[in-house]
């Protein structure tokens, strides 16, 4: 690789954010995510953007929603305890439909837990951490390079769909260094939010007639409107009218579920002759790939499904992947959060074998190999 440099996952995330057009970052220090904030504090002013270290994670999430409403692509980054603090305002961003990117570099929990060790135990917090019924997009890259590209994709999805997007990493992905070559700007696709085509008089910030994702006018551009976390009608003003609540809730759900063609992303490695599969994501996918290579040498072919977008859950892709497989191993650094989803959609014909580790240590390739050989 020419011009490739050793780059840390957290740094690649900051680079991706800058290249995606992020111009506002608000955060609060927490291991193993602080490197992202530190890098953003250096890079943002170089491109005319702004960084602020807020008084806590609640404020950080609030500030990026404000920043986004004022027109800047905005991001925050945190880990476990801080991710919990962001949840109320994350829900606000969902309800008010404000594009934001929220990074959670997962560490062991609950509570202060294992600050310097990896974990995948916030998979369900990412899905259901905020109160109320909602859809959410969450992405989980597995290499430094993928962190860079997926950070850009997180911004693109957030801006395109007017919604927060969660980027999940873990301590290993955040802190490890790999060779990475930052691509030429012309090689990356950047998507910006839609600006209203209507005049301020005709503009409604939540207008269903504009499709599932109505354009969002930045504050201060002549479109005066109201934003609230209360249920609202197309004007943005509170409404408890049953029909209008129903339409709002369904539009917010459908803008995610009907756009799965652009949201979904799966890495599937399957020849068709395998009887065994592994369903793995993030760091666990890295060791799974090693395990698969080891097993190949022993003459055992194992297929891999690695969701890059984990929420919404890749149900259709899983059903396709499971065809012909007798068993699927699901290694996770938690008690088994995603394996429940895998089970939910597959029939009893496929044996589903969880492999769980919750000690802040990576699942090793040997453990995966053993699990497969013993089964």
């Amino acid at each position: 690789m020419s011009n490739a440099k050793l780059v840390q996952g957290d740094i690649a995330c900051a680079m991706g954010a800058i290249d995606a057009g992020c111009r506002f970052f608000a955060g609060y220090p927490i291991t193993p995510a602080s490197d992202i904030a530190e890098e953003m504090s250096k890079l943002l002013p170089m491109v005319g953007g702004k960084f602020i270290q807020m008084e806590d994670e609640i404020a950080s999430m609030a500030a990026i929603i404000g920043g986004s409403l004022a027109g800047a692509k905005s991001m925050t980054a945190t880990s476990g305890p801080g991710f919990s603090l962001k949840q109320e305002n994350l829900g606000f961003a969902i309800m008010a439909e404000i594009p934001t990117v929220v990074v959670n570099v997962q560490r062991g929990g609950p509570s202060t837990g294992l600050p310097t060790l990896p974990s995948q135990s916030d998979m369900m917090q990412a899905r259901w951490g905020t109160h109320g019924d909602h859809e959410i997009i969450a992405i989980i890259p597995y290499t430094v390079e993928e962190v860079y590209y997926e950070t850009i994709r997180a911004f693109n999805l957030a801006e395109m769909l007017r919604t927060p997007v969660i980027l999940l990493m873990d301590e290993v992905i955040g802190h490890m260094s790999e060779n990475f070559k930052r691509p030429d700007k012309s090689k990356i696709e950047i998507i910006n939010r839609k600006f209203p085509t209507k005049t301020p008089e005709e503009y409604f910030p939540y207008d269903e007639n504009e499709g599932l994702v109505p354009p969002l006018a930045p504050f201060g551009k002549g479109y005066r409107y109201h934003v609230t976390g209360l249920a609202h009608d197309k004007t943005g003003f509170p409404s408890t009218h049953e029909e209008s609540v129903k339409r709002l809730m369904e539009r917010m759900r459908d803008k995610i579920l009907n756009n799965r063609a652009i949201i979904d992303k799966c890495d599937i490695r399957k020849e068709g002759n395998e009887e065994i599969g592994i369903f793995a994501y993030g760091s666990s996918a890295r060791t799974s790939i090693e395990a698969i290579d080891n097993l190949k040498e022993k003459g055992i072919d194992v297929a891999l499904m690695r969701p890059v977008t984990i929420w919404p859950f890749p149900k259709e892709q899983l059903l396709e992947f499971a065809k012909g497989l007798k068993k699927i191993v699901v290694p996770e650094m938690n008690f088994g959060q995603i394996v429940g989803e895998v089970k939910k959609y597959l029939s009893d014909d496929v044996e589903i074998i969880p492999l769980n580790k919750y000690t802040g240590r990576l699942i090793t390739p040997e453990e995966i190999v053993d699990k497969i050989l013993e089964g």
């Binding site: 002013p45 404000g66 409107y225």
Partner: protein, 275 residues
């Protein structure tokens, strides 16, 4: 003339408002609307941000860019807006519980940063919206729905709090002394840096009811009787000012540098470095 002025910045189609008869919140809204007019501010350049509570409903009635956030967090949302677009006039309206209980941390830090926001607390000494529970500003001994035997918590003096935290414009007014309130709001809006006004106001429905201050007008008279100008208080003995609420301008510091201006300097330095 007065009514016309208020109507100019009001979303009249959103009336009637949700506030109870005799609630002080509307008077503060009126003073804010008149202040915008006096300063001749463009509606498109004004942002009004609130938290949650009866006071939180204020922005909905203002014809500007308006944002009704989560309980206690209005200043943090406003900080993001101001950072990204410092040309906007950003006003933050909060309840006493909103600003000094759940949002107390954001209040002290916004003040410390001296970011150019105008914070106005609709301080009725009670949680109005949720049914009269005690707040950090409920006077010692007063009744609240969660202090049926009387409040045993000493109350915050929000002026002292804001000054201690570093706010560069600090004033207190009441919703009885409307002319003074309006003047302070204008001074606060014009101030470059973090400006803070504690507005002592009434909640006849909760505070009045629980403390046997029967009619809305008696609640308003309570403001008149308790408030005393700071300049006058300076000539009085501690005994005489006991239990009184001091109103006036407590700080107007034009020296301390404003946050977004300082950040612009960082951008100038960082962009030079890049080249």
């Amino acid at each position: 003339m007065d009514t016309d002025t208020k109507l100019k910045y009001l979303r009249t189609e959103k009336l009637p408002h949700i506030w109870c008869p005799g609630c002080g919140h509307g008077i503060i809204l009126g003073a804010l609307l008149k202040s915008f007019d006096k300063l001749g501010w463009e509606k498109n350049d004004i942002v009004v941000v609130s938290g949650i509570g009866c006071s939180g409903r204020t922005p909905g009635y203002i014809d500007a860019n308006t944002l009704h956030t989560t309980h206690g967090r209005a200043l943090a949302f406003a900080t993001g807006i101001k950072m990204v677009n410092p040309a906007l006039h950003v006003v933050v309206v909060m309840g006493d519980g909103d600003a000094s209980a759940i949002g107390g941390n954001h209040l002290i830090h916004a003040a410390r940063r001296n970011i150019d926001l105008t914070a106005i607390v609709f301080n009725n000494n009670i949680y109005g919206m949720t049914g009269g529970q005690y707040s950090p500003t409920t006077p010692f001994g007063a009744k609240a729905s969660t202090a049926p035997y009387g409040n045993i918590e000493p109350n915050f003096d929000l002026v002292e709090l804001a000054m201690g935290a570093g706010a560069t414009y600090v004033a207190r007014a009441t919703s009885y002394h409307e002319a003074i309130l309006e003047k302070y709001i204008q001074n606060a809006l014009l101030h470059k840096g973090f400006s803070f006004i504690d507005v002592y106001t009434t909640c006849p429905t909760q505070f009045g009811r629980l403390n046997k201050i029967k009619s809305p007008i008696d609640n308003i008279f309570m403001l008149r009787d308790k408030a005393i100008m700071k300049s006058k208080a300076e000539k009085m003995s501690p005994e005489e000012i006991k239990g009184k609420v001091l109103i006036g301008e407590f700080r107007n510091d034009k020296e301390k540098r404003e946050y977004t201006e300082l950040y612009d300097e960082i951008i100038r330095r960082a962009t030079k470095k890049e080249m």
